[in-house]
């Protein structure tokens, strides 16, 4: 039968090719991403991985030092970090001359230098109704005159980019001065975000609707090749001026810093010629690909395989032999379950967990105590997470390590005692606790049906609540529906999460600020004392006094329990030995511009 011989030949051929094409001596880094990208127009994207790739195309005014921990702002396209003027309401920047955009047909062969005009144009793009920018809120009632311009644009449908905006004052070719409505000590962080970057107007107008596919910036890399949701290739930007590793803030005790300094000292960066990125949604293939040496770095090792990589905390023998290094990073993010504090859902359904009376607070506090968070961390996350003590994750300005939230620990007896005390007992002995006024108690918990992890978290929720006699029904909904239901208040309890946009506690605490209800404040938590303390904290720069106010807000959160605090996840990033200069930054998603590759070592390892 001729068939078997044919398949044998096929397998032999495949094995030979599986080694993959090795460019002569070009340094090609291959890495996989956890989810697919959407596009590369900085003002129009907000998903983590697209923004991460944009960090390599564009350059904001300020950025973060590669090695400094905790994180420190450093100037990038700006010459220096400006001192706040007029009581923190004005910042003036001088742009470093000689910074050029990458070549593009839109510039008609002429080398295009970065000017203040580009900064002004890019900030205005956030308020252009046609672009529907997900980060429009960054510049809402922030810059003097910008809101009025945006209002006019909404009516007419298009934004007038020529219009003068008082708060965006261009003083000459390289100088721009921002005037804020009120003092905002986090404004500098906003200017360091990878989205708040200058784009050339000619490029935007030339590609119109397809700006997602034509990122033209002053950054170290350019987009060479892009097969949507399958392969993204970056290559060195010929026009890039080059940069060096700044070792001022390096910490000699940190072995990552030492390794980075030793391999990158004195080199003109970026060292990599080419970066190939493969989005792989499924965990198993992404993990196996790294083990098969098809990729050089494995960012965010899937929890499921943690015991294969680090059996009881130590690197597995086979990986250690191959010289793999593990970088342990505490994510600046928070997972939490949010309760709807309105006494009625928006569709009129009565919501037993809503309300501020002691009776309702007791129910929420009991549910928080009844949730088995320890098992979530040990079984579901395999120990790769820290139990959150407050909304503010570690590594973020305003994080208080000494704050210990006893009220959020797993303690079923206290939960049962609290329920009995406030009259939540089983009256019609159907095995489920009823409400104090006799009506049946039925709480619905909404989660995103799309992922297996969410389903198991929901399973743990239902199991934990059943242990203490509360009847909970878990309802899986589509991702888009979950977002909508949480925004309009059509839920009782639901799963949620928040990643830091900029490294300040205020980015998390604003989630419980009363006026934000209906937007980021999904719980619609309206507590007068909390709001007063929050407003006072806005007007203060980072200081012990401000930390005191943050502590006050955390205590109010624990008392009224609008949330059940979840975890801050810990990610382990793996790299093969031939990847040099690796150090994961808490805020910046990618670090390609600081990496180097020892192609000879990789060549040997692949034999």
């Amino acid at each position: 039968m001729k068939h078997p011989r044919f398949s044998l030949a096929l397998i032999a051929l495949a094995a030979a090719l599986a080694v993959g094409p090795t460019h002569a001596q070009a340094k090609v880094l291959r890495i996989a991403f956890r989810t697919a990208e959407t596009g590369f127009d900085p003002q129009r994207i907000d998903d983590r991985y697209s923004v991460g790739i944009c960090e390599n195309f564009f350059e904001p005014l300020l950025s973060y030092d590669y090695l400094a921990r905790p994180v420190r702002l450093v100037p990038l396209t700006a010459e220096a970090i400006p001192e706040p003027e007029e009581g923190g309401r004005r910042y003036t920047f001088r742009i470093r001359p000689g910074i050029y955009f990458a070549d593009d047909a839109a510039f008609k062969g002429v080398k295009r230098e970065l000017t203040a005009r580009d900064i002004e144009y890019s900030i205005k793009r956030f308020r252009d109704p046609r672009l529907r920018s997900p980060y429009e809120w960054l510049f809402e009632n922030k810059i003097v005159g910008l809101d009025e311009l945006a209002e006019r644009a909404k009516k007419s449908g298009t934004l007038d980019y020529e219009a003068r905006v008082e708060g965006l004052e261009v003083r000459g070719k390289y100088t721009i001065s921002f005037k804020l409505k009120e003092a905002d000590y986090n404004f500098l962080y906003v200017l360091a975000m990878p989205n708040v970057v200058p784009v050339a107007r000619e490029v935007v107008e030339r590609y119109g609707d397809d700006t997602m596919g034509h990122p033209v910036g002053t950054g170290p890399f350019i987009l060479k090749e892009w097969v949507r949701r399958s392969k993204i290739v970056l290559e060195k930007n010929p026009n890039y001026r080059g940069h060096e590793l700044d070792t001022r803030y390096a910490n000699p005790a940190d072995e990552w810093d030492r390794a980075a300094i030793e391999s990158l000292k004195g080199k003109v960066l970026p060292a990599l010629d080419r970066v190939e990125i493969f989005p792989i949604e499924d965990e198993q293939p992404r993990f196996l690909a790294f083990l098969n040496r098809e990729h050089d770095i494995l960012d965010e090792t899937p929890f499921a395989f943690i015991h294969q990589v680090m059996p009881n905390g130590k690197l597995a023998a086979n990986l250690a032999k191959a010289g793999v290094k593990v970088f342990r990073e505490e994510q600046p993010e928070l997972t939490y379950s949010v309760f709807n504090l309105n006494e009625r859902q928006n569709d009129g359904v009565d919501n037993p967990v809503g309300g501020y009376t002691p009776e309702r607070v007791a129910l929420r506090r009991a549910m928080v105590l009844a949730y088995d968070r320890d098992r979530e961390i040990s079984v579901l996350r395999k120990g790769q997470a820290i139990a959150a003590q407050s909304p503010v994750p570690p590594g973020v300005v305003g994080y208080d390590g000494a704050f210990r939230a006893g009220a959020q620990d797993y303690d079923p007896p206290r939960a049962k005692a609290l329920l009995d005390m406030f009259g939540y007992v089983d009256r019609d002995n159907d095995g489920w606790r009823d409400r104090p006024d006799g009506r049946a108690l039925q709480v619905s918990y909404k989660y995103n049906a799309g992922s297996q992890e969410n389903r198991q978290l929901a399973e743990l929720w239902v199991k934990s609540m059943n242990e203490v006699g509360i009847r909970v029904e878990a309802e899986g909904v589509q991702f888009a529906d979950l977002l909508k239901d949480k925004k309009v208040g059509k839920f009782m309890a639901a799963s949620s999460a928040w990643t830091a946009d900029y490294p300040d506690a205020q980015n998390f605490l604003q989630l419980l600020y009363g006026p934000n209800s209906g937007q980021s404040n999904e719980a619609s938590f309206r507590l007068a004392e909390y709001d007063r303390v929050y407003e006072r904290s806005l007007a203060m720069p980072d200081s012990p006094a401000r930390n005191g106010l943050y502590r006050e807000m955390n205590r109010l959160l624990l008392a009224y329990a609008p949330w059940r605090l979840g975890v801050h996840r810990i990610y382990n990033h793996l790299q093969y030995p031939w990847v040099k200069g690796y150090k994961k930054h808490p805020i910046l998603y990618t670090n390609f511009k600081y990496l180097d590759l020892d192609t000879a070592a990789r060549q040997a390892a692949l034999k």
């Binding site: 395989f305 579901l380 120990g383 000494a402 210990r404 206290r414 878990a474 899986g476």
Partner: protein
């Protein structure tokens, strides 16, 4: 003519119904060895399903009796890292929990709360290292999960198949019997359903209905009736032209009686075979639905949810949940398919 009709005669002899086509088919099935074995297996699964439904077995499948990924008994020695996963206590501070008494609305009753809490004893569940056929991530007994899972999967498969067969038979009968305008309309309806890719149809219906067990049954039934419709329609066209139907028309039988009293029993063997084929098809489809997140609700378990859960377990060396769900499903589906084949051979009425 009337002479004979009124003539009195003896009481009719005792009523001993001679074997009809169904009994003959049953006898033919019995002497088909493979068919009998398949029948026994299917009956075993159905009785297991009923026992589990009545709560006789696998009642507390969801109780966590073992450590996480407890080893099967026959692999007691194997290393189980997951079981000893360290809970991350070392988050830096051992400081005393913060005092909330000045802001906490529950503060007035703190004392009463502490007294009550002290009285409630903590029942520490002892988790065994090994289980009959191993444990899953939460330490639940995989064997009990498979049994409970079989109840849900078979229930979904059966009900969806019955519903789909009902829809397919009624529409097929109407199209095949009446022909003309009715047939054209139903063919148009059929064409729409078959032109849309199957996966999109499932996702579309999933988006329409609220998640839940009955949703899955509706989704499967509403997308699965087309195959049955096609065959029943062909059967009705064939039988519609047969002489016994013309004879029924001649004696004045109504359309309804011709359709359902005369033709339906003669098409019943096609319908029965389609029904059992669709039970098998829907049990397998439920797995795909669970993989897409449209599976049974969280507090239930089915083979589909088990397989979806077991996706990444093989790589970390925990093969038993994947094997248990996969194997038990394979055994039932094989038995059901072989039974269907034997049934088709037994039922095929060679109208001698």
């Amino acid at each position: 003519m009337s002479a004979i009709l009124t003539e009195k005669n003896s009481i009719p002899p005792p009523w001993q119904e001679s074997p009809g086509l169904w009994t003959l088919a049953w006898r033919r099935l019995l002497n088909d060895r493979v068919g009998v074995v398949a029948l026994v297996v299917v009956v075993a699964f159905i009785s297991m399903m009923l026992a589990s439904y009545a709560g006789l077995i696998a009642k507390n499948w969801s109780k966590e009796v073992g450590v996480s990924y407890a080893n099967p008994v026959f692999m007691a020695g194997a290393e189980n890292l997951e079981a000893r996963a360290v809970t991350n206590r070392d988050f830096g501070t051992q400081a005393a929990p913060v005092d909330l008494s000045d802001v906490d609305p529950l503060a007035p009753r703190y004392k009463e709360w502490d007294e009550r809490a002290a009285k409630i004893s903590v029942t520490e569940t002892r988790r065994s290292e090994t289980l009959a056929f191993g444990g899953d991530k939460w330490g639940r007994d995989v064997l009990q999960k498979v049994i409970k899972g079989s109840e849900v999967s078979i229930f979904v498969g059966l009900t969806a198949a019955i519903l789909a067969t009902l829809i397919g038979t009624i529409l097929g009968a109407l199209a095949g019997y009446w022909g003309g305008k009715v047939n054209d309309f139903l063919e148009w309806f059929y064409n729409i359903f078959t032109s849309i890719p199957y996966i999109l149809l499932i996702l579309a219906f999933a988006a329409v209905f609220k998640k839940g067990l009955d949703t899955i049954i509706f989704i499967l039934a509403f997308t699965g009736w087309t195959g049955i419709y096609r065959l029943v329609r062909a059967e009705y066209i064939k039988h519609g032209a047969r002489e016994y139907v013309k004879a029924a028309q001649a004696i004045g039988a109504s359309h309804m009686s011709r359709m359902f009293v005369h033709i339906l029993p003669n098409a019943s063997h096609v319908i029965l075979v389609q029904l059992s084929q669709h039970v098998v098809g829907f049990i397998k489809a439920e797995v795909i639905l669970s993989f897409l997140g449209l599976g049974v609700p969280v507090d239930m378990v089915s083979w589909g949810t088990m397989l979806a859960e077991a996706q990444n377990e093989l790589v970390i060396g925990k093969w038993w949940q994947l094997f248990a769900a996969g194997a038990s499903m394979a055994v039932l589906v094989t038995a059901f398919s072989l039974l269907t084949d034997s049934l088709r051979d037994a039922l095929d009425p060679k109208l001698k």
